[in-house]
């Protein structure tokens, strides 16, 4: 009993020490915490930071940085988290602790960019009321150039179409498991965006492609426009099953079927021939 009691105390102590370890403040050496972010926040930096975040941090920290990914991670939206300096965040990202890996091997420019993006997560996912916008595609199939034009506009109170300037439109091609980006452009002052479609994209058997255009802007609701165009290369992979050595019986190579049948015929032929000869000898014996 005594040993048992002791071991329980030890386990309790261990549990406490583990807890202490988990909540131990993560101190950053003074000079490290004082480092300044060499980059300034702009649309491009935030977008690059967002892409990096989605590729590297999202899995654990969650899409909105709430720390609700596949493992429990720090909530990036709290005031306490956001009160850290850029230098402190940079130090923690490059050093790592416990489940948080060290990202020392990454490009430091990417890390500074993601820190700027993390700042946009402050206060949690804000309910942003996005405005409505429309996206239409114009494709002239008679023209030899593979060119697609998108028009972005919104309807004003009078019911008139008003073009939207500097709105990002991304163009994609539908693939089996996702959308393959083929280019993105910003609209001009008339709300137009023109993209020269790249050649060499593989379509279906006759080269048809499902083109998807997406309005991607922080201020406006995302809108999709779809079109089927015959700008792709024909899919030549759709071959009939070939005769191969590893195929099922039905598609075995002709030489294999022939040689196998021939071997069987020869073997059984010889056996039958021998049996016939034996019968002949037997008969000859009877006559004598």
């Amino acid at each position: 009993m005594r040993i048992c009691g002791n071991s329980i105390i030890i386990m309790l102590l261990l549990a406490c020490s583990l807890d202490v370890l988990a909540f131990e403040p993560w101190n950053v050496p003074g000079p490290e915490g004082g480092r300044k972010n060499p980059l300034k926040a702009d649309k491009n930096v935030i977008e690059n930071g967002r892409i990096f975040f989605m590729n590297t941090c999202k899995a654990c920290h969650g899409e909105q940085g709430l720390g609700n990914g596949v493992i429990k991670a720090a909530d990036m939206t709290t005031a306490k988290f956001q009160s850290q300096t850029d230098g402190e965040l940079f130090y923690k990202i490059t050093t790592g602790r416990g489940q948080m890996p060290s990202f020392k091997a990454m490009n430091s420019n990417d890390l500074w960019q993601v820190i700027i993006f993390i700042r946009t997560l402050a206060g949690g996912a804000k309910q942003v009321l996005k405005k409505n916008a429309m996206l239409n595609l114009i494709i002239d199939v008679n023209k030899p150039e593979k060119q697609v034009t998108g028009v972005v506009y919104f309807m004003d109170e009078a019911g008139q179409k008003q073009p939207l300037e500097k709105i990002k439109v991304g163009f994609y091609v539908q693939r089996m498991f996702g959308l393959l980006p083929v280019g993105s452009k910003y609209t001009n002052d008339k709300g137009y965006v023109r993209l020269d479609f790249p050649s060499g994209i593989i379509g279906d058997t006759i080269g048809n492609l499902n083109l998807v255009a997406k309005l991607e802007d922080a201020e406006y609701k995302s809108a999709d426009a779809l079109a089927t165009v015959k700008w792709g290369l024909p899919n030549t992979g759709l071959k009939k099953a070939e005769r191969t050595l590893w195929a099922t019986n039905k598609l075995a190579p002709v030489w294999l079927i022939l040689s196998f049948t021939l071997t069987l015929l020869v073997i059984f032929g010889v056996i039958i021939y021998v049996l016939l000869q034996v019968r002949k000898i037997h008969r000859l014996g009877k006559i004598v």
Binding site: N55, G69, K104, A105, M176, F177, I202, G237, L245, T248
Partner: protein, 312 residues
């Protein structure tokens, strides 16, 4: 889904129901996933069934064609042999991103009902020589275009489909293990022991695209999650990776999609820009799983230690 409300078109509706009920009735008969509720109120008895895509539909009881587990299995066997027309599946594994999270293995083992010591996919700690840098390497079946395993099967149990996937029919397999010896990648494993499951689980219709229920005395291996591909989803391992290691797609379309980020890229460009390679390509097996070298690691390599602090 639209066809179910379209009362004018009897034949097309029936066709739809056939495909939907196959799954629904299979589930009723097999695992009891669905409770069929007879509706006594109307003129005709209505029955609720679960369609193949997980939606609940209501059909007339008289039109309900109960399909026995045997018929479900027969359908599985037939479609499993043919594969998805016009596809050629390919996987790309980015070694620089693997941190040995082992989520792929957990998802795979759960789907294929494997014991913790059995692996269709395994993450290995690799070090090519004493001076070279160690890295982690997830290793599934490579679904070779010239598969040595298929050539040696004496009973036509293992086969390569037109979409490139190499599968095993555990109903045909006699357990000779020729294929295990023939595979240069040790991708196959043998079920030495009776898998742990209830009598009810054991009586489920066998799914050739999932190798479930597993059978003692037969061979099993990675299936590229053929059952998931049939419904247009990424394989279990690919979609459960937290580190963006896996890309998967159709080589005929020349596009692969990352299971973590959902980003789709050109397969040929990915391989060309990152010096993608296949394992033991000099054997002429033409593997369909490509590796990207462990260059520019995202995080430094952390060796796995056992309870005694020894590196494993």
């Amino acid at each position: 889904m639209g066809k179910i409300n379209d009362k004018g078109k009897g034949s097309s509706r029936r066709d739809f129901l056939k495909s939907g009920i196959t799954f629904g009735a299979g589930a009723i008969a097999g695992a009891g996933l669905v409770s069929a509720i007879a509706n006594a109120g109307g003129k005709e008895n209505k029955v609720k069934v679960l369609t193949g895509d997980g939606k609940i539909a209501e059909v007339n009881a008289s039109e309900l064609n109960m399909i026995s587990p045997g018929e479900v299995q027969e359908k599985n066997q037939k479609q499993g042999r043919i594969g998805l027309p016009g596809k050629k599946f390919v996987m790309v594994i980015d070694l620089s991103r693997c941190q040995n999270a082992r989520k792929c293995m957990a998802a795979c083992n759960a789907a294929h009902e494997l014991q913790p010591y059995q692996h269709h996919i395994n993450t290995l700690q690799m070090q090519d020589s004493a001076d070279s840098a160690p890295y982690y390497m997830p290793k599934p079946c490579f679904h070779c275009d010239n598969p040595p395993c298929v050539k040696v099967c004496p009973v036509d149990a293992t086969f390569k489909r037109q979409d490139g996937i190499v599968l095993i029919d555990n109903e045909r397999c006699i357990g000779c293990r020729f294929c295990i010896s023939a595979c240069p990648y040790s991708a196959r494993m043998f079920q030495w022991f009776e898998p742990e499951m209830t009598e009810e689980q054991k009586n489920r219709p066998y799914n050739i695209e999932l190798n479930v229920p597993q059978k003692r005395g037969t061979v099993t291996k990675c299936l590229f999650s053929a059952d998931r591909l049939r419904v247009g989803k990424l394989p279990y391992c690919v979609s459960s990776c937290p580190n963006g290691v896996y890309y998967f797609g159709d080589k005929n379309e020349d596009a692969v999609t990352n299971g973590t980020t959902g980003e789709t890229v050109l397969f040929s460009e990915l391989i060309r820009n990152n010096a993608g390679y296949t394992y033991f390509e000099d054997l002429g097996t033409k593997p369909q799983v490509y590796y990207l070298p462990p260059k520019d690691r995202r995080t430094p390599f952390k060796p796995v230690e056992d309870s005694l602090g020894e590196k494993i």
